[in-house]
Amino acid sequence: MDMTDFGPIIKKRKRQDALFNIVGIACTLVGIVALGALLADMLADGLSRLDPQFFLSFPSRFAARAGILSSWVGSLMIIAVTAAMAVPLGVAAGVYLEEYASKNWVNTIIETNIANLAGVPSIIYGLMALGLLVYGLGLGQSVLTGGVTLAFLILPIVIVATREALRTIPQGIREAAYAVGSTKWQVTRYHLLPYSTGGILTGVIIALSRALGETAPLITIGALTFIAFLPPSPVSTEFPFLSFEWIWSPFSVLPIQMFNWVSRPDQDFIVNAAGAGLALITMTLSLNAVAIVIRYRMRRSIKW
């Protein structure tokens, strides 16, 4: 074959590459443009609604007077309960599976089970909580029930994040600590946990941002869509100054409030829905931004 024959073939192959480059960029842009359109749409519809009065008013039959006070307070309370339960439990489980667990059938079952739980639809957690927590244990449609439900939901995310963070720590660190006489727990407590804090924190923040946006399981356990009062305050001027009465309070959360407003035909309530959506999306996206920054700084600062 003559060498000159290769010219057109090479040209054709290069053209194929260039073409795919364009297709690839276009497809990547689909997602980014959709995200941009979504944000722009919410801003255009709801920005005018975001004034202090909107954050400090209870829901109302009149769109102009309605606000998101009870729902953002509800979201914060739920997240507090969720974090208090999911973080210790998830980190402990992650440490056990990554550092302690030997390969036996019990641990294989636990691992497969967690992988499966990560793929169970969120609404199924809601059904479980409805049958078990609301009626079975009699916890009612309370903040406690909602928080525990979401804690179960994000548990697999926290466990996986903990395990991945621990896995990046070189084996030499563990061996060095054992060599000077540390016990397993001392290695974990004084070396592994401090070194993996950044990775675990990233996972926890992303998990909590997911919990913040969850709607379906909370609707399923019967969270209310209309709440015109605040739960009892956690701090008081009288002894013992701290009160946990609020965990028994009924609640609503931002996404449920937004859903309630979206499903109304009245245009004024749509504007409220956009306002609530903006508040919600600002919270979840900033949590994710914090997680990205932590991950980025960690990658730059840690050199094993």
């Binding site: 795919f20 480059n21 959709a34 489980a93 636990i110 957690y125 548990l155 969850e214 919600l280």
Partner: protein, 318 residues
């Protein structure tokens, strides 16, 4: 340095021999260590308790449901009207709603997600990848109720102007938006799978005269296939269980059809609809959401197990 070893260093005056002290300390440390390990094990085992709780509740509540509704009706009846005066309990319309919305979502997410993964892994300069990947992942950080709003009030009107006669609530709209939401599940995990294919495979292809795209499609993609299939399966199980987008944008009327232009209810939308109402605990309507939930759980369980299998296979190869 821990307290225990400090005490050993100082030596204890009351103990005659320092060796004895260390031995006693050792026994205490051993018990403490075993106790901590037990606590950590309990934490890990709590996840099994959650699964047991899910299966237990679904089976228990459904069993009373199936005492009233024969299984054969449940799987063959073509009407789902559990809240009507004359109730019919055929799950088929809810299943078709779920399958059609999931199908539309996958038609959007799998091609786009795969091309994005190949582009980011094989073509994009590292700096572009480092910037674009986290931005794309933000798509999965947007709450689904916000996507519902976006579908109903932004994508819906656009689709209606493109397809004449399209109703306000339709499965096409919900499915497309759901597809956009799950793009990052496909693209991120597939990209990880593609990138873990050893460089030598690519270099062998290049040395035979293959260009980048041929190498990506004929060598790298097949080599990463089990990891990529795992990402597709994750996307399927995400779409099957997605609730708020379909509840807001697809309508809530059970409708036995495979036409995505029609409104229909999915299993998840039905559960939300019933939960929003005020059904008495223990009524047949209340139990029907657990029966519907059991079907959804069973379907996603199959996909989850497939996903676990493919992920494990991929990890074994590389």
């Amino acid at each position: 340095m821990s307290v225990d070893s400090n005490a050993i260093e100082r030596g204890d005056a009351r103990v005659s021999s320092p060796l004895k002290s260390i031995a006693r300390k050792g026994r205490f440390v051993g018990i403490k260590e075993r106790f901590i390990e037990f606590l950590l094990f309990l934490a890990a085992f709590s996840s099994v308790a959650v699964t047991t709780g899910i299966v237990g509740v679904l089976v228990y509540e459904s069993s009373t449901f199936f005492a009233h509704v024969p299984l054969i009706d449940f799987f063959t009846d073509t009407m789902w009207t559990p809240l009507f005066a004359n109730p019919r309990f055929g799950i088929l319309p809810l299943v078709t709603g779920t399958v059609v919305t999931t199908g539309v979502a996958l038609l959007v997410a799998i091609p786009i997600g795969s091309i994005v993964a190949i582009y980011l892994s094989e073509f994009a300069p590292p700096i572009v990848r480092e910037v674009l990947k986290p931005i794309l992942e933000l798509l999965s950080a947007v709450p689904t109720v916000v996507y519902g709003y976006f579908a109903l009030l932004f994508v819906g009107p656009i689709l209606q102007s493109l397809i004449p006669g399209l109703p306000t609530f339709n499965m096409l709209n919900a499915g497309i938006v759901m597809g956009i939401m799950i793009i990052p599940y496909v693209s991120s995990l597939s990209e990880d799978a593609l990138r873990s294919v050893p460089m030598s495979l690519r270099e062998s292809a290049y040395s035979l005269g293959a260009n980048k795209i041929i190498t990506a499609l004929k060598v790298v993609y097949p080599a990463a296939l089990s990891g990529i299939i795992a990402s597709y399966i994750l996307a399927i199980s995400r779409a099957l269980g997605e609730t708020m987008i379909v509840a807001i944008a697809a309508g809530m009327q059970p409708n036995l059809t495979f036409d995505p232009r029609e409104p229909a209810a999915t299993i998840t939308a039905f559960i939300v609809q019933v939960s929003l109402g005020d059904l008495p605990h223990g009524s047949i309507g209340y139990q029907s959401i657990f029966a519907a939930g059991l079907v959804l759980f069973a379907i996603t369980l199959v996909f989850n197990i497939l996903g676990i299998y493919f992920r494990k296979r991929f990890r074994e190869v590389y």
